[in-house]
């Protein structure tokens, strides 16, 4: 695979500006860069999801034109997206063969053969997962594995991973990396897009650094250290530590008492008697592996899902069954994990997205005061340096900019209780730091903060109190001190320890 050049313009933004990109056969090639640096765009062009305005692609010595993922698939190029493309109601086998289903008598779907085929792929590559399982039952790590199987089933030689580790636990990441190494051993080629520099060091052979749509460096990984990489990425040195001033504890703002959530027909409750207190000026960091109740805690506390038992108190008043509307009126601000569906309306403009939580403020007799809305959105875009036109659909923005819009909007509400769920998920270093500084800023103002995150760095760096959830239960709750070890938290997260006694 040789030199690729292409120029790409998207709503007057040069996403890729005359990019040369080269991957050698049978290597793991990392592509790093900030949000909006053009990594994903570049890969989407390679995978046929987007078209380049100019430039060409040479694959295995031949110039090729890739107009769709189908073309890419024929050439042997596969991609694992940041957001998985799986149908939860289908089994693994059904998801894998989707589009090239084995048929019985040329017409009927042959589910037995589908399972058998997928099992063969599993044996060939040494994956241990039952193809008859439903995708909705899987963990995030397993879903990703299904995506990989999907590509391998289509006999791809070049695999593209878009931020594959962003949702995984450390254990799952290790497993993913050993899978990647296995794939390299049998002759596959891998491109991995990532933000995490330690992963670049760990897994890749070579690395391409992108900034603002251009390639700024191509290096052998062995010849470059993390500091140098981050300098290339952001153009400035990054400090990996947060300053957290000690705060006198304030009063209890939010209290959860025996909060339980059951799904119909399920034995194990999704939330099992969760008790928690969040004080004014305190950041409570909830850590846990996906599927252990973090998402449910988020839904319940933001009023979007009704609890089956227990009470939630806000300033000692019962708010358990209030709608999200009344919760917002009481001072809830909330940055959800699901940005693309819950956190934003992709078919609406940036401006319409920005005013959702407080559009009541811009009304006069039910009619919007357009000038004030404009002033408000302009101010937010400027203050949060959001790259994009406020009148354009938010779907045209990059992931990082969408998150900034959500953050800006929620911070603009007057609140005393803030829920962040995976606030820096998939964001680059500079953008994450910006978000962290904002979280610490509102902490200083005395806001009670609930930080739900699968990123331990984030929790350890920001939280005053660390709570770990496992199988819907709170398995430990510690004040965050420097000597609290990561391993200990990890053991609680993975359910290896269950010796925590409730002290209070």
């Amino acid at each position: 695979m040789n030199g690729i050049t292409r120029l790409y313009a998207e709503n007057d933004v040069l996403a890729n500006n005359n990019v040369d990109f080269e991957v050698l056969e049978n290597e793991i090639h990392a592509v790093v860069g900030e949000n909006g640096a053009g990594k994903t765009t570049l890969m989407k062009i390679l995978y046929g999801l987007e078209r380049a305005d100019s430039g060409n692609i040479v694959f295995k010595g031949k110039e090729v034109s890739i107009h769709s993922p189908l073309d890419a698939g024929r050439l042997g190029i596969g991609m694992v997206h940041q957001h998985f493309c799986l149908i939860p109601e289908f089994t693994i086998a059904e998801n894998v063969v989707l589009g090239i289903e084995p048929l019985k008598r040329k017409f009927f779907f042959d589910s037995e053969r589908a399972v058998k085929n997928v099992r063969e792929v599993n044996e060939q590559y040494g994956f241990q997962i039952d193809p008859a399982l439903r995708v909705s039952q899987l963990t995030v790590g397993q879903m990703q594995l299904v995506e990989i199987i999907k590509i391998l089933y289509r006999k791809a030689d070049l695999l593209i991973f878009d931020e594959p580790t962003s949702v995984l636990t450390e254990q799952q990441i290790n497993r993913l990396f050993s899978t990647l190494r296995k794939l390299i051993k049998i002759g596959k080629t891998i491109i991995i897009i990532t933000h995490k520099l330690n992963e670049v060091k760990e897994i890749s052979d070579r690395v391409t650094v992108m900034r603002k749509g251009r390639v700024v460096a191509v290096k052998k990984t062995a010849e470059i250290d993390e500091r140098e990489l981050s300098r290339l990425m952001v153009g400035k040195r990054v400090i990996f530590q947060f300053e957290r001033d000690p705060m006198p504890p304030g009063g209890v703002v939010i209290e959860l008492k025996d909060v339980t959530l059951r799904e119909k027909g399920q034995e194990r409750p999704l939330l099992d008697k969760v008790n928690m207190q969040i004080h004014s000026g305190e950041i409570v960091g909830v850590a846990g592996v996906g599927g252990n109740g973090l998402g449910e805690l988020e839904d319940v506390i933001s009023g979007l899902r009704e609890v089956s038992g227990g009470v939630i108190l806000h300033n000692a008043e019962d708010i358990t069954r209030l709608s999200s509307l009344s919760l917002r009126e009481r001072g809830l601000a909330y940055v959800p994990q699901d940005r693309l569906f819950r956190g934003s309306s992709l078919q609406s403009t940036v401006s319409e997205n920005m005013i959702i939580s407080n559009h009541h403020l811009f009304l006069k007799g039910g009619v919007f005061k357009k000038k004030e809305v404009q002033a408000f959105t302009d101010e937010l875009t400027q203050h949060f340096s959001i790259d994009g036109d406020t009148k354009a659909l938010i779907a045209t923005l990059s992931g990082g900019n969408i998150q900034k819009v959500i953050l800006a909007r929620e911070l603009a509400t007057r609140s005393d209780f803030f829920v962040f769920s995976e606030p820096s998920w998939g964001l680059d270093v500079a953008c994450s730091e910006f978000i962290y500084s904002k979280i610490l800023e509102i902490r200083k103002q005395g806001v009670a903060v609930l930080l739900i995150s699968s990123n331990l760095d984030e929790i350890q760096g920001l939280a005053d109190t660390i709570v770990v959830m496992y199988r819907g239960r709170v398995v430990c709750s510690f004040p965050n001190t420097r000597d609290l070890s990561r391993e200990l938290i990890g053991e609680y997260m993975l359910g290896l320890r269950d010796d925590y006694q409730k002290i209070s």
Partner: protein, 349 residues
């Protein structure tokens, strides 16, 4: 940005013009095959509506109720609510308006007329609102419930027209005629075009303002685009299951009332058939844009008027006229739906 927007409008209209061109070519081909006097037929089909004041005015007058029903559908669709009960809502609105006029034979024309129109409006609104309410309360599918309610209501209205309210002195199956003072002022004699035209334009403007400038419009559109997001943002989502439906029904009821006061002056059995369904077509062509509804309704009325003129002046039968009309119509609707889907697909990238 502005340039971009303009160019996308341009591309859209080029697509529409090409589709129209193809549709007309097919229509002309069909007329050549089916008619023994093709030149004459083509002339009346396409130019007919413009040949005299009577045809032209009546064409515009046909468009007026379609503007109302089209607006009603556009509001509902923009909120991702599906109102398939337009037929029953128009018909019952017409009946109620007639009943009000008949029961007040000597009242002031303006007051009584306004009362009649408002009653018709409320009738449609209640019928449609019911489906919204059921959806909010029990999660029933409004698409099905509105359709079924409408189906039943049509029969009930038929019963009243042919039974208790029937005018024995008229050979048509119809109610008695409403009093003279309720007739809406004609503005383009000898055609039936009347001041309800202005109500239509005004309503389109109002709906446009409502959807894009007000709090309710914003919340409705947000709920239409993403209900989860709206709930998250603190919008009372269940309100917007009922409200768009009620508004939609109100516009349908008004379409019925205005047809009575402006055009028919009596509630003839099944006079309004097609207004509800055609409203859906109009909204589709207009891509649910309130201001786009006006040209879309006129286009629809033009096809209708052309078909009528061709039937009167050439050897074309009703069936042939209907075939030609529907081919043009299907192609245009398909184009509208296609670009709508393309837009939906492109946006979430």
């Amino acid at each position: 940005m502005v340039r971009k927007k303009l160019s996308s409008v341009f591309i859209n209209s080029v697509g529409l013009i090409i589709t129209l061109g193809i549709a007309f070519l097919i229509a002309i081909f069909l007329i050549f095959v089916l008619s023994s006097t093709p030149a004459r037929t083509i002339y009346y089909f396409f130019i007919g509506p413009f040949t005299n004041k009577y045809y032209f005015g009546n064409m515009l007058n046909t468009a007026v109720p379609l503007v109302f029903t089209g607006l009603g559908i556009a509001i509902a669709f923009k909120s991702s609510i599906f109102n398939l009960g337009g037929e029953g809502q128009v018909y019952s609105g017409a009946l109620i308006a007639t009943v009000v006029c008949l029961s007040l034979p000597n009242a002031n024309g303006y007051l009584g007329g306004a009362l009649a129109l408002i009653s018709g409006l409320i009738a449609g609104s209640v019928l449609a609102g019911l489906s919204g309410f059921f959806k909010m309360k029990w999660g029933t599918n409004e698409l099905i419930s509105s359709f079924l309610i409408s189906g039943a209501v049509v029969l009930i209205v038929n019963y009243f027209i042919t039974g208790p309210l029937d005018d024995p002195g008229n050979s048509l199956l119809t109610t008695c005629a409403i009093a003279e003072q309720y007739h809406l002022l004609k503005i383009f004699p000898p055609s039936k075009l009347n001041i309800s035209t202005f109500f239509g334009i005004l309503s389109a403007g109002l709906v446009f303002f409502l959807m894009f400038y007000t709090h309710w419009g914003y919340e409705m559109r947000m709920c239409g685009l993403n209900r989860e997001f709206s709930r998250y943002g603190g919008i009372n989502v269940s309100t917007y299951l009922v409200m768009p439906m009620a508004l939609s029904g109100a516009l349908h009821g008004l379409a019925g009332g205005i047809s009575i006061l402006g055009t028919y002056h009596m509630c003839v059995k099944e006079f309004s058939f097609g207004m509800g369904w055609n409203g859906i077509a109009v909204a589709l062509i207009a891509k649910n844009h309130p201001l786009g509804v006006i040209p879309a309704a006129i286009f629809f009325a033009y096809l209708d008027a052309g078909a009528k003129a061709a039937m009167l002046h050439s050897d074309v039968t009703f069936e042939i006229a209907a075939i030609v009309q529907s081919i043009i119509f299907y192609l245009v609707t398909a184009q509208a739906i296609y670009s709508f889907i393309k837009f939906r697909k492109r946006a979430p990238a």
